[in-house]
Structures are given as structure tokens and as C-alpha cells.
Symmetry: C2
Subunit: 191 residues, 2 copies
């Protein structure tokens, strides 16, 4: 998605530790018109798939998932990272290791919200080492639902998880794939 | 908003501890078409206000804030609850006490994302004791921005924070106000 690549070049900054900061339009601050463009692009890619659930992990995936859900007219489901007082008792869970925070956490989804009849699209803002996506895939499997694919805003291609998933036959659509980045330049994979 | 009251009656459940669970359409699972209806209703209410920032706290406010931001064509800003590795160094912060989790936490927003020129609409899924909204108001004040008002999906009227804010001259628009609830019935305030 050319517009996303241009936005990354214009507003993104590369920080130490392979961090691509896009807080000005995709994370802490959201460009609402642009997020809706992303949502429509995801809906276009999965138009024939009869998606019944757009699935993400709180909290950075929520904005993109909501935009995609609005464009697809499909409900969103958010895996929670911390069990909260209001969570249903019956949940699917999966362990996820966060490189950003250097800790293990558990993601969970109420069993009422995802089931065997669902056709699921996993959506996230970033795909780097793939741990969050793999945790969500485990929950989709546990629910007996079918996975249509993974729609990602920004894939860090150089970390390999996207290609590893593709090699396993999983459909992964990343709107921008960063093949290398330094504080001087960001190089995108031609798509 | 009649449609929200009907949805609460049809799908909401009252749990011990004054919890109104609406996980099937407003929290863990989001009814995307309905959240966009809520967003459009918020945009209608604040149409003349030239909103430049829709402001919420992660993570349960994000879906409604994004829908309102899309409808208002205004950027969203999310206060974070935990400082993360990718946060800007210069942040506004405010302490918030969570009754749900019985703990203090700090909310923070990068100073780049909210400034003195901004006209801010605070958005959240619930208004109960008002601590999250008051924390956000403190950040709006610290930023020197102006507050247009607070748009809330569900206000727990019996907890008093909404009326307390209104008495202070703050504009608070709640799409549904629950004046009392038991596991038998939910009573809405006439609006």
C-alpha cells in the first residue's frame, strides 16, 4: 500500500533496538481518515472470504481491527492481555512472549466470542517475530474456527516471521514490508 | 440513543459489584456496524465543535474513539496505561485509580500528540466513578488544550460522576444513562 509506505517515510522514525516508531499516525495518535483507508484496503483484499471475525490483541491492534471490521461489516474480537474482573469464565488462552517488554504474557478470549463456525481474519499493526500472531492462531485453532489469513499494517520483513508463516501456507498480507531499516533509511520490499 | 439502550437490554448482563457486562458488542467483541453508528452519533452531537483530537485511554475506549474519529475526520489520541519502550520521552501524565482492578495506574500521552491548539473530545465506553475521565481532563489542562466535552457510551448514572461533572459546567453526553440496575432489570434515565 503505497500510501502507507509514504507515511512511514514521512513520519516514521527508527529507534535503537529495531523499533520503527509510527506513533504519530498508527499507535498513540491515529490518523482516522488514514486508518479507515487501511481498513478499506484490508476489506478489499479479503472481500471474497466471508469473514465473520476480525481478531486482534489489545491494545495496539484495536484501531486497525476496528477500521477493518467497519469496512468488512464483520464483528471484531480482541484478545485481552491481562485477565480482568469482567472477563467471561470460559476462555481460550495462549502464551505469548513479548520482545518489546521482554516478558511472557497470556492472551485470552471468551469462548462465547469465537467458535467453530467462524471464518477469522487476524489483524495487527506490526508483524515482527510473529509471537502475537502465532498466539492468536493457536486460539483460532483451539476454537475450531478457520483462518482466512493475517492482515498486517507493517511487517518487519528482516525478522522473518512473515515469510516463515507464508512458507507454512498461511496467507499473510502486509500493507508495507520493511526489508531493512537504519536511522538513515527504510527500504520496503516490492509487492 | 435508543439503539444502544435496546442493545444493553438484549445483550447486557449485570454481574455482582455493579458490573454491566456488554462484552458481546462493546468490549471483547465489537459489533462493527453498531460501533460506527455510535461514532456517527457522537460526530452529530459535536458537529459544530471543530474537534481536532478524540482522546481516550487504552484499551476499552479505543474502538469507540476510532469510530468517532472516523466519523468526525479527527485524529484520535490514546493515553497509555503502562509506559512502554516505544513511548516518547516527553509525556503528560495523570494518576488514575481503577475500581475494577483496585489499583492506581498512571496514564500518559506524548506531548507531540496533544497541544495548546487542540480542541479535545474525550471519549470512553463507560463513565462510572469518573476517574479515567478526570485523569484525561487533567492531561487536557496540562497540555493547555480546550475541552469540548465528554462523549460516553454508557454512563452509570447511579455512581454520580456524570452529574458531578455536569454540575461543574463540563459537557457530558452519554448515549445511555443507567440510573439503576439489578440482575432483573436495567433502568435508563429519560434523555
Amino acid at each position: 500500500m503505497k500510501a502507507l509506505e509514504e507515511k512511514i517515510l514521512a513520519e516514521g522514525t527508527v529507534l535503537p533496538g529495531n523499533v520503527l516508531k509510527v506513533g504519530s499516525f498508527l499507535n498513540q495518535k491515529i490518523d482516522s481518515d488514514f486508518i479507515m483507508e487501511i481498513g478499506r484496503e484490508i476489506a478489499r483484499l479479503y472481500a471474497g472470504e466471508k469473514i465473520t471475525r476480525v481478531f486482534t490483541v489489545e491494545s495496539s491492534g484495536i484501531a486497525i481491527a476496528v477500521a477493518a471490521g467497519i469496512a468488512l461489516h464483520a464483528p471484531c474480537v480482541f484478545a485481552k492481555k491481562h485477565k480482568s474482573a469482567n472477563m467471561p469464565k470460559d476462555v481460550y488462552t495462549a502464551p505469548v512472549y513479548s520482545f518489546t517488554h521482554r516478558e511472557m504474557y497470556e492472551i485470552s478470549v471468551g469462548k462465547d466470542y469465537l467458535g467453530a463456525d467462524d471464518r477469522v481474519l487476524i489483524v495487527d499493526d506490526f508483524l515482527a517475530n510473529g509471537n502475537a500472531v502465532k498466539g492468536m492462531m493457536r486460539i483460532v485453532e483451539e476454537a475450531g474456527a478457520s483462518l482466512a489469513g493475517c492482515a498486517i499494517a507493517i511487517e518487519k520483513g528482516f525478522q522473518g516471521a512473515g515469510d516463515e508463516l507464508r512458507a507454512q501456507g498461511i496467507r499473510v498480507d502486509s500493507l508495507a514490508i520493511v526489508d531493512s531499516m537504519t536511522d538513515e533509511s527504510v527500504v520496503f520490499r516490492a509487492q
